[in-house]
């Protein structure tokens, strides 16, 4: 009898992944891991500098020529923004050439009832309603969904961010030509875009809080490695 198709599994590692005795599976290829940590750093820089762009630090005294604080903060924001944007383009490319797990960030099988069943199973696990979570070589469905939301949010931040950036570079600039339409889309007054961009920062912070908490907790409680997986690429299953 052919077993029912599942995303996760319960006890031991299925035979096709190397049999019962294998406890480590190579999941995240080096480019994915490097991308992850570069993105993590750039997003933290973006959120901190972005916060202070909207609500700047207390005034510095002395001559204006002696300081360039806002200038440096904005420079750091834009530098990290380029890292985020170029990184994301690279990550999309890697989803095409990388292994199956590299595609999970972008393709969420919402059309599959089995995926939803496992999604709600995972929700029940987070709500202490089941004893053990299923094990996943890639992302668990809830995590995958959250990561997809972050991906969408990052795209939104890049579109709105480069539109604002284009305003600074001027109307002849490549950024304004390519992304200026975002300003028209929100009604033409870029104050609105500043507000939405800032709201996006808070959404990102929300994701990062839940993401880091879940990563640490799963690492301890779900009998599979998490953080070390994002470092070494190997998923360890303990049970």
């Amino acid at each position: 009898m052919k077993p029912l198709k599942t995303y996760g599994f319960d006890n031991d590692i299925p035979a096709e992944l190397g049999g019962r005795r294998t406890t480590a599976v190579y999941v995240y290829q080096a480019p994915v891991r490097i991308w992850h940590w570069l993105t993590a750093i750039s997003v933290m820089v973006l959120a901190i500098t972005g916060f202070f762009i909207g609500k700047p630090l207390p005034t510095l005294s002395g001559e204006a020529s002696a300081h360039f604080l806002m200038g440096y903060i904005r420079f750091a924001h834009f530098a990290a923004a380029y890292v985020l944007a170029v990184g994301l383009i690279f990550r999309i490319y890697w989803a095409i050439v990388g292994n199956a797990y590299s595609r999970e960030l972008f393709i969420v099988p919402v059309w599959d009832p089995q995926w939803w069943r496992e999604f709600f199973y995972e929700v029940r696990w987070y709500m202490f309603m089941v004893r053990y979570p299923k094990k996943y070589v890639g992302h668990n469905p809830v995590g995958q969904f959250a990561m997809f939301c972050f991906f969408l949010c990052a795209v939104g931040m890049i579109l709105s961010g480069f539109a604002l950036y284009g305003e600074g570079l001027g109307e002849q600039s490549w950024a304004y030509r390519m992304f200026g339409w975002v300003i028209s889309l929100v009604g033409g007054n870029s104050m609105t875009l500043h507000g939405l961009h800032r709201l996006g920062m808070w959404f990102t912070i929300l994701f990062v809080m839940l993401h880091i908490y879940a990563a640490i907790r799963e690492d301890i409680m779900s009998k599979q490695s998490m953080i070390s997986t994002m470092v070494s690429g190997f998923r360890m299953f303990k049970s």
């Binding site: 360039f68 806002m70 001027g170 109307e171 007054n189 808070w202």
Partner: protein
């Protein structure tokens, strides 16, 4: 009959040839054109038939007209005003009543397809347009009728361009920007509350001299005056980059002329020429006088939250709250939830540990067997 040119009109208004040439060079300068364009402008004004300008007034406060007649270059003002008042402007023309309306009919038929309509204010659409009735006719009707045979429309000020205060929430009369009512003509938006007089004069001169509309940006504004933000040319910008801000209206920074960003200056999001052309004969502009820009030339600037804040309310989702209020609430709730969840997880896992260990032993026993 030969069509009269602008030059003919100016001469008959008592403008000397010398003054006329001065006017041409002024025009070229104000539009950022080189000296080589002066003869071109003079030639056009001497030889091309005059383009009549019809100036309509809808729901407005006349601040655009007030601004316009205070143009810093008296020559430009006199010359253009004399050209325009010849045609139709119900507020400042000599004729009145039926006589005035007869002139309007005459121009629209005689110059069919060749005249410019300059609109100050906008039409309110609620109650069939009854909130604005010049000459006993809803303004929206008049606007449509007069615009039908125009070659182009100039939308003066924030009112005609975006709606301005009469269109601010909840917009009881449904005041509507000109571009939403007239959709089949080129529309040149010259926003501002009011627009800068020199900008108005230059836009209209460009159109009548070159017989075409100036290059426009994405939102339909002439690039030459709306191509940069106040912030890009603000003389306080070095203080912005340095991180030196006015924190209070009466603090040291205010006296020293620091950047007004923290007082809510909208210069970084406002496209206008104030920081270069300035106001009142180039005397000053709001930031120079110590108050932030309120963004008067931007779409919906009345509804974008406080003039005195940078992180302002967004009402995109039907709630009036700013990003930081929403964000801090959500992040705070998430933080509390994480702490609670972590505590429950710890308690649960301790309670279950023994069972877990037992099952682990089972597994080991199985494997060694």
């Amino acid at each position: 009959m030969q069509m009269e040119s602008f030059y003919d009109v100016m001469r008959s208004q008592g403008v000397s040839r010398r003054s006329f040439l001065k006017f041409c060079s002024l025009t070229a300068t104000s539009m950022g054109l080189g000296a080589g364009f002066v003869p071109q402008i003079a030639h056009a004004l001497e030889n091309q038939p005059r383009t009549p300008v019809i100036w309509l007034h809808g729901l407005e406060c006349t601040c655009c007209s007030e601004s316009f007649i205070r143009s810093a270059h008296p020559l430009a003002k006199d010359a253009i005003l004399s050209m325009i008042s010849l045609d139709y402007d119900d507020t400042i023309m000599a004729a009145a009543g039926h006589q005035a309306e007869a002139i309007l009919d005459e121009i629209t038929t005689k110059y069919k397809g060749n005249y410019i309509v300059a609109v100050e204010g906008n039409p309110p659409l609620n109650e069939d347009g009854m909130f604005c009735m010049p000459g006993g006719e809803p303004f929206v009707e008049k606007l449509k009728r007069v615009s039908k045979d125009a070659s182009a429309i100039i939308a003066w000020g924030a009112c005609a361009s975006w709606g301005c205060v009469q269109a601010a929430k909840p917009n009881p009369t449904r005041a509507t920007p000109v571009a939403d009512v007239i959709t089949d003509k080129p529309i040149i938006k010259v926003p501002g509350c009011p627009p800068i007089p020199e900008v108005m004069a230059a836009v209209i001169t460009y159109m009548v001299t070159f017989g075409r509309i100036p290059p426009l940006d994405r939102q339909g504004r002439p690039k030459m005056f709306y191509g940069q933000r106040i912030h890009d040319k603000c003389y306080r910008r070095p203080h912005f980059d340095a991180g030196q801000f006015v924190e209070d209206w009466d603090d040291e920074g205010a006296r020293k002329g620091y950047c007004l960003y923290k007082m809510g200056c909208k210069g970084p999001t406002t496209y206008n020429a104030c920081s270069t052309v300035r106001w009142n004969d180039g005397v000053s502009f709001p930031i120079q006088s110590g108050h932030g820009c309120i963004g008067c030339s931007e779409n919906g600037f009345w509804d974008k939250g406080s003039f005195y804040d940078r992180v302002v309310d967004i009402n995109q989702f039907g709630i009036e709250s700013n990003a930081d209020k929403i964000g801090l609430t959500v992040a705070g709730a998430a933080g509390a939830a994480i702490v609670a969840h972590a505590a429950v997880s710890a308690i649960k896992s301790t309670a279950l540990k023994r069972q877990d260990l037992k099952s682990l032993n089972d597994v080991q026993r199985e494997e060694t067997r």
